[in-house]
């Protein structure tokens, strides 16, 4: 039979000895100056060191290897601290679309850190940041997300940010969003795409609430 039992397999699965602290200085040097494989290995090793969050985030700026970037984003999401969330939020202002997208995905993986940060982000001066922040509301409970998105629609002037909020409401909005959506669609000069999207969101929310009413009757 050609099947062979692995010679080295069966090695016990084990984590590193917690008493052996990683050599952060050496890992920092590898992260900054190593080959792509060495940088990725350093990023993965530093992902177990909460104090290294700033180091990891700083390395993203000049990093072009997608594997290293991914390891850093995964590391920051895995650490999941408030500092990590703030470092990732800062990347939403990056001109690099890869960094913005990576930061968004990583932030979506740390939902516990978002409720305290999203309200301010949704009032950011930069409409691009406000737009991206709307997407992050999807990881919240539907009542929280509905309240936040409704508040956005009541004050927001930028149609694309409104559309992002409407998109979230179409997915998880609750009935209290209906009058807010109606006002949004009725705004003078509301662009056609926003009126269309608002109509879909209202239809979906109504359908869900009508069914709930029927079932409760």
């Amino acid at each position: 039979m050609p099947l062979i039992r692995p010679k080295a397999a069966g090695a016990p699965a084990s984590s590193p000895d917690p008493r052996t602290a990683p050599d952060v200085a050496a890992l920092k040097a590898a992260l900054q100056h190593g080959t792509p494989d060495a940088r990725r290995a350093a990023a993965r090793a530093l992902a177990g060191v909460p104090e290294a969050a700033g180091l990891l985030a700083a390395a993203l700026a000049g990093e072009e290897d997608i594997r290293v970037r991914e390891a850093i984003f995964t590391g920051l999401a895995g650490l999941g601290t408030g500092e990590c969330a703030d470092l990732l939020l800062a990347l939403l202002r990056s001109p690099d679309a890869g960094l913005r997208g990576g930061a968004l995905d990583a932030l979506a993986a740390m939902p516990a850190r978002l409720p305290a940060r999203l309200p301010a982000l949704l009032r950011d001066d930069d409409p691009d940041v406000r737009l991206l922040a709307c997407g992050l509301a999807r990881v919240l409970a539907s009542d929280e997300a509905t309240a936040l998105m409704c508040a956005v629609l009541e004050r927001e002037a930028e149609p694309n940010v409104c559309a992002a909020a409407v998109d979230v409401l179409a997915e998880l909005g609750e009935p209290q969003a209906l009058p807010v959506l109606a006002r949004c669609a009725a705004r003078p000069g509301a662009p056609a795409f926003l009126v269309f999207a608002t109509g879909i969101a209202m239809r979906r929310i109504r359908a869900a609430s009508d069914r709930a009413g029927e079932a409760g009757a």
Partner: protein, 277 residues
């Protein structure tokens, strides 16, 4: 469920699990929702959807279970085994250094049906099987199922997809409804414990040509799924393949892998060369 409810549910399922359902599978989705509403005694779709979104009493896992046949048996998802023997191994032997065995990993392997299926499938269906040394490793986080896998006792249900000649060839009857896989196969496969999110434990298993990691990542939260994807990447040789369950998608989890579409299955490949962002 009306169209709008269906779209809302599909959006939620996609964001939570990466599973994609189109209108063509609406009946299938509706059946599962009806089952879960009945099981949870939920009066309306809206009430059930709220329960799902809040993950009350672990409803997300229950819901996913309803979509994935949460049982294991020999030759489950046979199309992936056809892909293994028909496409993947041919690609791997092109890239293989002389003298190195082909390595295949089944993780999680539960009670052993998958790694034993891979062994039987290759012995029966891969014409090159005698030309190479093949190592198959089965791993799981649960030490009890690993012990069961090593013991190799199976009932009729686990063997339902196997022909009588295959059962006669690879199993020894133990009773009217129970069989034991032959010692030669039991002794050919190494069974170990591993946690998919433990980098050191995963690394200790070395690198593989093909990894089967089916129907487990959908149960992880986003952060754990990303870590598992990084670990699986490290456990693949450059050019090696990752096979997920039929309802899973790595594209939703990580950009590290290339999508490969073969006649029998969609699989994910670790690129041979690093890519730039």
């Amino acid at each position: 469920m009306n169209e709008d409810e269906f779209r809302r549910l599909c959006d939620f399922i996609y964001r939570r699990t990466g599973m994609v359902f189109t209108e063509a599978r609406r009946y299938y989705v509706e059946r599962r929702v009806t089952e879960r509403r009945s099981a949870t005694n939920t009066a309306s779709f809206a009430a059930y959807f709220a329960r799902l979104r809040r993950d009350l009493d672990g409803e997300v896992e229950q819901f996913i279970n309803a979509f994935t046949v949460n049982e294991t048996y020999f030759f489950r998802e046979e199309h992936q085994l056809r892909c293994l023997s028909g496409d993947l191994l041919a690609r791997r032997i092109e890239a293989r250094p002389a003298g190195r065995p082909l390595r295949i990993w089944s993780v999680p392997c539960s009670t052993g049906e998958e790694p034993y299926s891979i062994a039987i499938w290759l012995l029966e269906n891969w014409p090159m099987v005698d030309a190479f040394e093949i190592e198959i490793v089965g791993s799981d986080i649960d030490t009890r199922v690993i012990e069961a896998a090593r013991a190799g006792h199976f009932g009729r249900r686990a063997l339902m997809r196997l022909s009588e000649p295959l059962i006669a060839k690879y199993f020894e009857p133990e009773g009217p409804e129970s069989w034991r896989i032959i010692a030669e196969l039991r002794n050919s496969i190494d069974f170990t414990t591993v946690n998919l999110v433990d980098a050191a434990g995963m690394r200790a298993h070395g690198v593989f040509d093909v990894i089967f990691c089916r129907n487990v990542l959908i149960y992880f939260d986003d952060a754990s799924r990303r870590i598992a994807a990084e670990n699986l990447y490290d456990n693949l040789m450059p050019g090696g393949f990752l096979c997920l369950g039929h309802s899973e998608s790595m594209s939703r989890i990580s950009p590290l892998f290339d999508v490969c579409r073969y006649a029998d299955a969609i699989v994910y490949q670790r690129p041979r060369e690093p890519r730039h962002g």
